[in-house]
């Protein structure tokens, strides 16, 4: 479990794809030939899915099953399967969790400006 299973398919996929698309680790030949091929595949899947039913996709729960160390396969509504990289997320989550909590000074906040 990686903590993302409860996210709606739409919000999580769109966020992942729009913010951090270039982290797919592919064989060199594919990367050099088409650096965004994996993203294109996913976007194509999303387009098809959106055409089928935007509303149902937006609320569909996503189940996850590990494929390999750097990639998970996500399935929504038993119809559309998309492949998403999780390497970035794993690194980012581990990194952020290693950071220390900032200690706030004991002060009375000033009033808001408006």
């Amino acid at each position: 479990m990686n903590g993302f299973e409860t996210y709606s398919a739409q919000s999580w996929l769109v966020d992942c794809l729009t913010r951090h698309p270039p982290v797919v680790e592919e064989p060199k030949s594919r990367r050099s030939g088409s650096p965004t091929s994996a993203i294109t595949r996913v976007l194509s899947s999303l387009t098809i899915c959106a055409a089928m039913s935007v509303a149902s996709f937006a609320t569909a729960a996503v189940s996850a099953a590990p494929v390999n160390a750097s990639q998970h396969r996500y399935q929504a509504d038993q119809n559309i399967v998309v492949e998403l990289p999780t390497a970035y997320w794993s690194r980012a989550i581990a990194e952020v969790r290693s950071w220390r909590t900032v200690e706030e000074p004991e002060v009375t906040d000033p009033p808001l400006l408006f």
């Binding site: 950071w99 220390r100 706030e104 002060v107 400006l113 408006f114």
Partner: protein
Amino acid sequence: MAVPSWWESALKSALSQGDVVQKIPFCGVTAPATFLRWLTLRGGRPGWEEVPAPVLRPSDQRKYFLANGDILPGLVISHDCDLDKQRANGKVLLAPIASIQTLEPAMRSTVLDQKHLALLPLPLVPGLGDSYADLRSITPVPRELVLDSERVVSMNPSGVDRLYAQLFKFTMRREP
């Protein structure tokens, strides 16, 4: 030791993250929410009246609420990429700015010591002096209003990095 400036010597060519802009109408919806409906008063004068639930204004298909606010300088929070996008009804995120002198002395020291997570010190803003930006009140403002406002100064790369650090700490309460 000389304090490195956070400001460019000249304005960047286009509105940018970290810019200080003047006379921004900051506002927030009142609580409890008061819904308004546009109507024509006697003599054809435009007016608004309170209604129990939000309604669409026919001319622009928007809903209207009562808000309170103030006209203040603002710090551009939106990223340059978002600022460059020409979207209909586009908004720019801004944090209101006030003079550091408006704070109580103890709070003034806390802010200048860079210990308050929500209040970003802005040293020596040209024309404004030592100031602070209040991240608690980051507000979306219509893009056209911001573009029509007077730009005071742009942040240099060090200033923008400082802004990033403050935004991260304020929203996450964590640091590496």
